[in-house]
């Protein structure tokens, strides 16, 4: 594949190609709609790039294969969608505690339960608050365009390695299924295995990948150690986009697909003279608290839009600490809000502002 020409790609395929170009050495996953194009693409292209593709017997097996391969020093990823990600929660908790880098993609579908295969954003809490047990966090990034999905996927492997922590890319069926033009990044070679990885000790000391700490004080130190990394992330890895936030009196907070749809509605509302802007968190953890506070400085009201019953809105409220009223509008279950209905909501909120 050529490197520089823009081409039309499905989000899922673009993510897979970006991972291969980022030097991903192994993919372990299990099929689930709406992200099947990722394993399908990987099955076809990753081996050609010298990597390992393996369809695991389940998501549980997949995330534990990721654990093994990451622990052995490989650049490794998996992908799934909501129910499959739920099955990975124990494994993710292990990976975070054992400090293994890996990339996990969740193309969210409607839930709970078997739900449906339509786009949703209802796995926000699971992704950012820690769906698994224990004190840990994923670095969670939410792209809104196929190009951004490519760029974020590409960057995520190095982020995972920098922090020795899993990175989750939180997309949804919309982003995965849509085609958009993308320019692909150059092919990168994976680094050699780091000095903590189990690669056969040779003449050195045995290396151990582990998450068991039976003594409370040792385990507590482990927790504090990983949270110190999270504090660093909060300094260095916060990402967001501001769109007409300067002087915005009505601030919309939205991420991923919802944010891009909101843009269309915001353009229409601004054309009508409503002073509305958009704040789009790209890193959902670490959440861009300070930036949001600044963007909301002149806002009379903040409207959080999600394809859920209201999840990120908690983080918006935690950021703003009661300084501005925060209201919520959501569609869920696979219903994608239209620009028209968002526009209507903008009107409603603007007219009812305090």
């Amino acid at each position: 594949m050529t490197t520089n020409a823009a081409k039309l790609m499905k989000g899922n395929e673009a993510i897979a190609e970006a991972a291969i170009r980022a030097g991903c050495q192994a993919y372990f996953g299990y099929p689930i709609t709406p992200q099947n194009e990722i394993p399908d693409y990987m099955a076809k292209w990753l081996p050609k790039a010298g990597g390992v593709f393996l369809q695991a017997e389940s998501e549980l097996a997949a995330i534990n294969m990721v654990y093994g391969a990451a622990g052995a020093g490989s650049r490794v990823m998996t992908s799934s969608s909501s129910p499959g990600i739920s099955l990975m929660q124990e494994g993710l908790s292990y990976i975070a505690c054992a400090e293994l880098p890996c990339v996990v993609i969740n193309m969210v579908r409607s839930g709970p339960g078997l739900g449906g295969i339509l786009p949703a954003q209802s796995d926000y809490f699971q992704a950012v608050k820690g769906g698994g047990h224990g004190d840990y966090k994923l670095l969670v990034l939410a792209p809104a365009t196929v190009q951004e999905a490519v760029d974020i996927t590409y960057a995520s492997f190095q982020l995972a390695e920098k922090y020795r922590n899993p990175v989750m890319i939180l997309g949804d069926g919309l982003l995965g299924q849509m085609m958009e033009s993308v320019t692909l990044p150059k092919v990168e070679s994976p680094p050699s295995p780091p000095d903590w990885a189990t690669t056969g000790r040779q003449k050195g000391k045995p290396r151990i990948i582990n998450s068991l700490y039976i003594e409370g004080d040792v385990m507590e130190k482990r927790n504090q150690h990983i949270f110190a990394k999270y504090a660093h992330m909060a300094e260095d890895e916060v990402r967001f986009e501001k769109y007409h936030t300067d002087g915005a009196r009505l601030l919309v907070a939205a991420y991923g697909s919802t944010a891009r749809i909101a843009k269309t509605a915001i353009d229409r509302a601004r054309a009508e003279g409503i002073p509305v802007g958009l704040f789009r968190p790209i890193s959902l953890y670490p959440f861009p608290n300070d930036a949001l506070r600044k963007a909301a400085a002149e806002a009379r009201v903040v409207l959080t839009l999600e394809m859920s019953m209201g999840q990120m809105v908690d983080d918006v409220r935690l950021s703003l600490e009661g300084r501005v009223p925060v209201v919520f509008y959501g569609r869920t279950g696979g219903v994608v809000p239209t620009p028209k209905e968002i526009l209507k909501e903008l009107h409603r909120v603007w007219e009812n502002r305090a």
């Binding site: 389940s58 097996a61 391969a69 056969g200 151990i208």
Partner: protein
């Protein structure tokens, strides 16, 4: 005088935390001796599972990963696929491998993963205090079968080696025990052949070793060995169930 026994080099100096008389310790030693004899300690990546042997990562003098309960074969697969040049083994109990992890075990075997599984069958959950394992014998009492395991309520002791026999990807499957010096020798031969399966790229090797849990069987360690010889072996017959190299098996070499 010369020293005729010694701790294998593939073990660290950490003393085992196992209960008095628990044969996990003997099995550790045999595995370590085999690693030494094959010269694999520096190359091996071992996987400790969740069970009494969870601290195995402190005992084996090679690189180790600790795996989630039941998932050791998946972890081993992940490692072996990205590092085919390494020797990869798992060490798992019957709860780990036979109950929560039977799916991962069967799929690793069915894929013919070139890994070696040391499967310690002690008919009970040791670490959690003596609950029923899938391999608990009929009539055997445990904390979750207080009146003894019965077919109607709890089903049959799970015959793991017999199950794996049906899978072409399983290259070597044997069931042994360590209840006497001669059984110990047979176990060591089985380990060596399971190692060979991996080294020669023939597929998965698994040695099921009948082991004691004196504490949870409420027996003294010597009685526990007798229990294996008299009761367990009747349910779980010893022998080689599968050998990629039938010749070698027939020689008993």
């Amino acid at each position: 005088m010369r020293q005729v026994t010694a701790k294998p080099k593939a073990l660290t100096n950490a003393p085992f935390h196992y209960c008095p008389g628990c044969t996990h310790g003997i099995i550790h030693r045999l595995l370590a001796e085999t690693l030494d004899e094959f010269g694999l300690t520096e190359n091996a990546i071992g996987i400790a599972s969740v069970g009494c042997s969870v601290f195995a990562y402190d005992y084996f003098n090679c690189d180790m990963q600790q795996a989630a309960h039941g998932r050791a074969p998946a972890v081993a697969t992940g490692i072996k696929r990205v590092r085919p040049q390494n020797f990869v083994f798992t060490y798992q109990g019957d709860g780990d491998l036979g109950s929560i992890g039977i799916g991962e075990t069967i799929h690793a075997a069915n894929r013919g993963e070139n890994i070696t599984i040391i499967f310690v069958n002690n008919a009970v959950y040791g670490m959690t205090g003596g609950q029923m394992a899938p391999t608990t014998l009929l009539g055997q009492k445990s904390s979750t079968t207080p009146t003894g395991r019965s077919i109607g309520e709890h089903g049959y002791p799970l015959p793991v080696s017999e199950l794996l026999q049906a899978l072409p990807g399983a290259a070597y499957v044997a069931r042994t025990t360590v209840t006497s010096p001669s059984q110990i020798r047979i176990t060591k031969r089985a380990l060596a052949q399971a190692f060979q399966a991996q080294i020669q790229g023939r597929g998965l090797g698994l040695v099921e070793i009948l082991s004691t849990c004196p504490v949870n069987w409420h027996m003294d360690p010597v009685e526990a060995l007798t229990f294996i010889n008299e009761e367990m072996v009747a349910q779980f017959p010893l022998g080689v169930f599968k050998d990629f190299d039938e010749e070698v098996a027939r020689d008993g070499k």
